[in-house]
Amino acid sequence: MDGMHDLGGKQGFGRIRYALDAQVFHEPWEKRVNALYGFAVKLGIFNMDEYRHAIERMEPRHYLSASYYERALTSLATLCVEKGIVTLAELEKRANGTFPLSMSSAPGRSNIPGRERFKAGDRVRVRSDYVPGHMRMPGYIRGKTGVVVSESPAYPFPDAHAHGVKAEDEPTFDVRFRSEDLWPNSSDAALVHVAVFQSYLERASDSA
């Protein structure tokens, strides 16, 4: 989905809050949330793709205003409710207030048929795919051309795995893009590498 989480290249944000001794956690509850979602994954209540997608499904205003660990908390609670572990009513009674959950899910999809195997040096184009469900393709590479630099082992296909759809595992390819091709005349010069699932890619002609 083209959601609020897809932030790469979005303009209008201010300076990075950077400090040499930056902290991972700021409040004790954050450590608990970080443990609890890992606990739920370990118990098999949900998988990491479902977890990430439930964050992406947060109401956009909520997503943007929430801290990282509030997003984790919202995903954890949403999935525990959706999986029937607990009801929202029970959570709100226990919390003595409202407990905003994520929006509902749209259908996922399986692998693209006839996907190709690429090797380092191949020129590839990212398909112009738009899906209602989970996807690990950042919008800034949609339709763009790059060069494969390496291949990973096969992983579950997130577009399927986040939705309980059957699919084959597939490799990801680290694809190198020129920032100039991603944002012509509007970026700092760099090589931007993105780990792209096989289903998102097609072979590019050399002339492209």
Binding site: L36, F39, L91, H193, V194
Partner: protein, 201 residues
């Protein structure tokens, strides 16, 4: 900023919401509290940047290890007794050079090789870093105190799948003859994310 138009019954604090989900799990016989204690131990004692620092120091001093590390990061760190979660199936180690600076980010969420380089710092998870570092890499690094000369090529790596990355910083020239232990002490989490260089490099 208060929302003018959608105010309703009070939203429970994040702390109370955390209490609620934890208690709900406990009541179903799922030992959440125990797991939280174990996780606290992992976060504070096990998933720490000192792991990655050992990997870097060994790579600086053992060319054969470095070769194995660059070929297959996951297998190579296992030689040092370091593990990665099952879903981190691949570790790609990115070697810096005087004219090459690798930088890691995750624009879609905030993934890292956290068992090796430690959990990501707050700024790594902020919307600002996620939105800006891919498009304004040199500007962002400069704002963060790393003012790279124009001849240094920047290579950004966006962690959009379950491949994990870590940066192998350049070894400072003044460390010749140092032991692995000494070397490991100067390697920082920020240098392994790629937003800092080590002193003298």
């Amino acid at each position: 900023m208060p929302d003018q138009t959608h105010s309703r019954p009070t939203v429970a604090s994040v702390e109370k919401r955390t209490d609620a989900i934890q208690a709900a799990l406990e009541e179903r016989g799922l030992k959440a509290g125990e797991f939280i204690e174990q996780a606290e131990h992992l976060v504070e004692e096990k998933w720490i940047p000192e792991n990655g620092a050992r990997v870097v120091a060994k790579a600086w001093t053992d060319p054969a290890f470095k070769q194995r590390l660059l070929a297959n990061g996951r297998d190579a760190v296992a030689e040092l007794g370091l593990t990665m979660p099952p879903h981190h199936r691949h570790l790609v180690v990115l070697e810096n050079a005087p004219k090459v600076q690798n930088v890691i980010c995750c624009t879609l969420c905030s993934c890292t090789a956290f068992t090796i380089i430690g959990l990501p710092p707050d700024w790594y998870k902020d919307l600002e870093y996620r939105a800006r570092v891919v498009r304004q890499s040199r500007t962002v690094l400069k704002e963060m105190g790393l003012d790279l000369p124009p001849e240094v090529e920047i290579r950004v790596w966006d962690t959009t799948a379950d491949t994990r990355y870590m940066v192998l910083p350049v070894r400072p020239p003044h460390t010749e003859g140092w032991s692995e232990e000494q070397l490991a002490k100067i390697v920082t989490k920020d240098a392994m994310i790629g937003v800092a260089r080590l002193q003298g490099t």
